[in-house]
Symmetry: C2
């Protein structure tokens, strides 16, 4: 039975902060713009052509072929269509791995901080998340990971680049994690949904020797502004995919057929303009926050900035609550992502430049005032993470 | 861990029979026609309006409202939008119930014969299916059900009208099952995906006193020819829905936003023409098969005819294999749906009248020849259910 009796902490806090009517929201990982015309047109064309029948469980052939080619280009090793399952977004891909590969009570190493969706996916399979605290600069701690491996540890989950920290894993460290997975026969589940929005190349190529343990989780949501389409994919060894397809079929039967044709068209669109917009936003915000004394880890990929706010205020929940009340800017407390996220906040910077500039101004004003006088405590909600 | 290491027996046998290149397929439960124009137009309009962002996890508000109203009209008791979750088809709704309500090892009563998707959904949650053989006229056997209830039995699954048998459950029997569920505190999961394509009214109203245990599983797939859209829904008590929404979010996050707008438009389309087409097909096939001595249970709902073929041949798999080879007509062996389905075949009659007429002719010829000479045994596939 799923023990996940509460909804996503991200959505819960977004709802909570909305009660204060913020005019700037930097909470959700979602572009404000609609999906680009050519992608919508492809889905519309599929609808007009009557592509409204059951799709094959693992995805329509042309999309699996295109994704295999796409993965092969990025990874540098051969990938065939039989290694792909088209999923109902990255979340289904995660849940599918958990339900298809883990027994109740088996353990999976997750990073602290990490995206809370990993924990809810693990709970659907009654698998246990074993939290591995990251280093101060938000890199996985290989020793800490190794110490936590038990006979019933089955997998580890990484996020490259990472939500909420924006960090890539250093190549040598990633290689060591690959070795760990290989040596202990663990599945190496790597969520790469922000990879296409990276400022630098991921080091995933170092995992080549261990690629039969590797399961890549990806999605059309972020690079192509397709969050509402619910199309993602999973790429793994053929033996793993063979195990997972029947489970995918039992969970959802398949993914909306004409949405898959839209996704196919997305692969022909270069997300470069979005990458530039994000880089710009990140520069603006980082420079503003750094000026007023908040340490900002360099954003190496994705669109989240994860500043350390402890020079201004000890408690990140207080920071988020007071910021929304005083300046109308909604940001997420870092502690929603794990204990190691405490003292930080996550700013989603995938929106328009003008809004980010205004948000930066207001956060600077807030930090400046907070530094002058001790803040009044606001009662935080009881249902935190 | 999901133990479902094999894909759906329906899809597996459909693939097997296709190797003989049938020119008439009566296997899958899918209309040949594309989804109607007004439904596609609504999805296209939503796409053009930029409805491409994350939908609320439980579904877009207008669809939940419309479905609550729809359920209230059909059930005759009050239903509010908070009782609805929009799902990735009926299959996700089933898996969601299993993963959200059952612990590993808990038991659920299922009918024999039944739709095999129930078994695969139960396996995702490592729950156990306890098979209850139906009577000779394919009605649930209340005594058999009662005898199988254990302290760790948590739910029972019914299908009204039933796939593959086409039978409705008699009102008094349904009431007794409701009492059973109530007395033993079981969830009463009722799959009603063929309800809109019924020749007579379902007796679900008798379950009114037990409706807080009732979970209705429904889908846009069949009545509106929307199998590829992957939109279904689940209607239950508010307390159940509150438990299930976070699990639904952990499994799929939500359902394709613009597909939901299409579904909303579907509710304004009357499936009456489809009902007539099916009734016509059923009359043609029933009369042909009855003439050549095969007993056909009256189709009370849905579009499957489930004739008893034992007067022609003992083994339903042999029947299906030889029919496809000799007459190019693909039908599914009844034993795919359970032991009590043995000696029957399932004919899906949602296609065009002319095709059904031709299929009827060929089956009559096949039955006539088979009656004359003993059939040569063909080796059935090893991976039968």
């Amino acid at each position: 039975m799923s023990a996940c009796g509460t909804s996503s902490p991200i959505r819960r806090w977004t709802a909570l902060l909305r009660q204060f009517h913020p005019d700037i929201e930097l909470t959700l990982g979602q572009m404000p713009q609609a999906t680009a015309g050519p992608i919508c047109d492809a889905a519309i064309e599929a609808l007009r052509q009557g592509k409204t029948h059951y799709p094959p469980a693992a995805g329509i052939d042309p999309l699996r072929q295109a994704l295999a080619k796409w993965e092969q280009q990025r990874r540098g090793w051969p990938v065939v269509p039989e290694q792909i399952i088209v999923t109902n977004g990255a979340q289904e891909a995660l849940a599918l791995c958990c339900l298809g590969l883990l027994k109740s009570g088996e353990e999976v190493l997750v990073q602290d901080p990490c995206y809370p969706g990993y924990l809810s996916a693990l709970k659907t399979a009654s698998a246990l998340a074993v939290v591995c605290p990251q280093s101060a600069d938000f890199q996985p701690d290989c020793e800490a990971m190794q110490r936590r491996i038990q006979p019933h540890t089955r997998a580890l989950i990484l996020n490259v680049p990472a939500n909420p920290t924006g960090q890539m894993i250093e190549p040598r460290r990633l290689f060591r994690i690959g070795q760990l997975a290989w040596r202990h026969d663990l599945f190496l589940i790597v969520d790469v949904v922000y990879e296409e929005l990276s400022q630098r190349e991921s080091a995933l190529a170092v995992l080549r020797p261990f690629r039969d343990r590797l399961i890549l989780i990806n999605s059309f949501s972020k690079p192509w502004a397709m969050t509402g389409w619910r199309v993602g994919w999973l790429c793994g060894d053929v033996s793993v995919i063979k195990r997972l397809v029947p489970v995918h079929q039992a969970l959802v039967s398949g993914v909306c057929s004409f949405a898959q044709y839209g996704a196919l068209a997305a692969l022909r669109q270069d997300p470069e303009p979005l990458r530039e917009q994000i880089a710009d936003n990140v520069r603006v915000m980082t420079s503003a926050l750094t000026c007023c004394g908040l340490r900002c880890p360099e954003v190496q990929g994705g669109f989240y900035l994860f500043p350390d706010i402890r020079r201004c205020m000890a408690d990140d929940r207080q920071f988020a609550l007071q910021l929304v009340q005083k300046q109308g800017v909604a940001v997420l407390p870092g502690s929603l992502f794990g204990q190691r996220g405490a003292g930080h906040v996550r700013l989603s910077l995938c929106g328009q430049r003008a809004q980010v500039e205004q948000a930066a101004e207001r956060i600077v004003r807030f930090v400046t005032s907070a530094a002058e006088k001790p803040a009044v405590q606001t009662t935080p909600p009881a249902d935190s993470r």
